[in-house]
Amino acid sequence: MSATHWSVRQKIEIPFQYTAGPAVTRFLQGLTSKKIVTSVCSKCGWRGVPPLSFCGRCWQPVTEFRELSGTGQLLSYSSSGGRTFGLIHLDGADSSLVHWVVADGGPLKIGSPVEPVWQPERSASILDIEHFRVMAG
């Protein structure tokens, strides 16, 4: 209770488990084998990360999936709480991927080339990518 006014502190604590569905499952499973998978719409060519099983623009199922190289370019970055978040344009994808980024091979600036650094132990989670590092040159 604050000095002058009363309040009650309470928690809302509820466990969730989000069903990934076929396309996102394929993406997460790809991470266990160090692969970044995108979906490709046969009509408009949109390459989604995480992949889509249905294209909302063309209103048709998506059945083609591709493995990306994993490299990309930094679209933007922002550091807070001792960590730097990067918005990454992956080569061969249209969606951007947000992840942690580290300068390493060069400074963090828009356009810097980046590549994923993989965790030794992987469990079909986005955290299987430890972070993206700026590549040299």
Binding site: A20, V24, V49, S80, W100
Partner: protein
């Protein structure tokens, strides 16, 4: 041209960092009771209410239940929009245009101080690939800010100028939370909100509520100069934040086009624009999409007082809570066109634009065009 729906009154609370003295029904009763007093319309004559609030901000499933009684909803038609209050206003107008109700009360409330803002915004993010990283709304806004600065070729000084202008305007707005004649250097060196945005380039945590009364043309006749007509409305939904170019708002450009078409006006006819920008870069980005200025001119726009026609109220950056910020813009546009804006009144305006957005990096965009009545 009028759509046939008028605003006849608008009331806001003072926006404060923490309204520890009020629970939700008291907060909302404050604005609704004042609105009924100012308009002279008793609750018995109002059958339709549209509210806007968010379960995660209120820490309650069905957040509208807390205010059902104080908005006069007992045995009446209240519905809750789970998005920015400007959407509740558009839905309220639709109810009147459908001929179903003579009046509609529109109310938005939020107490950001009661929840943990960071954690609350985290649940807007993709649960598979984004939430595990700890991404929260300030991070996404900062990523957008840097992308926009890069695309528009501007630096943080330009953002500081936008913030300076708004906080100066707020000095004439008694309801504004954060007010001050800040120096550019002060804004640039303020604590980090989320790099590159400093705390003075982003809205502080705030509590507040806002209520408007809509009326059909027949009822509006009795309100004389306090009548302001809704002459255009537009809304659009953008792609998810990681599936679009964050440096522009295609959805806002489309929402504005729809509203301009309905109102029979263009961007050049807008005398006052209240843009719902809780971060400095959003005002410039959204102003582009609204056709108020071109990207190549944003540095000049930020440096000029722009005739004081953008956010005379000080805007959302001075502290308007989520879900309320857009309805606050409509309220401020109404006050300008009914000559009730007091110290921050801009003389001679006849067409005003109010904008609202919600979701990550403004994924849902709404525009309302108001016109002074010729009475």
């Amino acid at each position: 041209m009028s759509t046939g729906v008028a605003i006849v009154g608008a009331v806001q609370t003072r926006y404060e960092a923490k309204k520890a003295h009020q629970t939700y029904n008291e907060l909302v009763y404050e604005v609704v009771s004042e609105l009924l007093k100012r308009t002279g319309v008793p609750m018995q004559e109002i059958e339709s209410m549209v509210t806007a609030s968010q379960d995660f901000w209120d820490g309650k499933t069905i957040s509208s239940m807390s205010v059902s009684e104080v908005v006069g909803g007992y045995l009446k038609s209240e519905a809750k929009v789970a998005s920015d209050g400007i959407q509740a206003l558009i839905y309220g107008a639709a109810r009147i245009l459908a001929g179903a109700f003579e009046y509609t009360l529109v109310v938005a409330h939020c107490k950001e101080s009661e929840g943990q803002g960071q954690k609350i915004t985290a649940v807007m993010f993709d649960p598979y690939c984004q939430r595990p990283l700890g991404v929260i709304a300030p991070t996404a806004a900062a990523l957008q800010a840097r992308a926009y600065m890069n695309a528009a070729g501007i630096g943080t000084e330009t953002l500081a100028q936008v913030s300076q202008k708004n906080h100066r305007h707020a000095m004439k707005n008694p309801l504004a939370l954060r007010v001050g004649d800040y120096k550019i250097e002060q804004i640039l060196s303020a604590a980090v909100y989320a790099d590159p945005l400093t705390e003075l380039m982003a809205a502080p945590t705030s509590d507040g509520a806002c209520a408007l009364l809509l009326a059909n043309p027949e009822k509006a006749k009795t309100f004389g100069s306090r009548v302001v007509w809704i002459s255009g409305m537009g809304n659009s939904t953008d792609a998810y934040w990681t599936d679009r170019d964050l440096a522009q708002s295609v959805a806002l450009a489309q929402a504005a086009k729809r509203a301009y078409q309905m109102a029979g006006v263009g961007a050049k006819d807008i005398d006052i624009a209240e843009i719902s920008a809780r971060c400095a870069h959003e005002e410039l980005l959204y102003g582009e999409a609204l056709g108020l200025w071109a990207r190549k001119d944003v540095a000049k726009v930020a440096a000029s007082e722009n005739g004081g026609k953008v956010n005379p109220s000080g805007g959302a950056i001075t502290g308007n809570p989520a879900t309320v910020a857009g309805l606050t813009r409509v309220a401020e546009a109404y006050l300008q066109l009914s000559d009730a804006a007091g110290a921050h009144q801009v003389p001679g305006a006849s067409v005003a634009l109010a904008h609202g957005a919600d979701g990550i990096c403004g994924q849902t965009q709404s525009v309302v065009i108001l016109r002074r009545s010729e009475a």
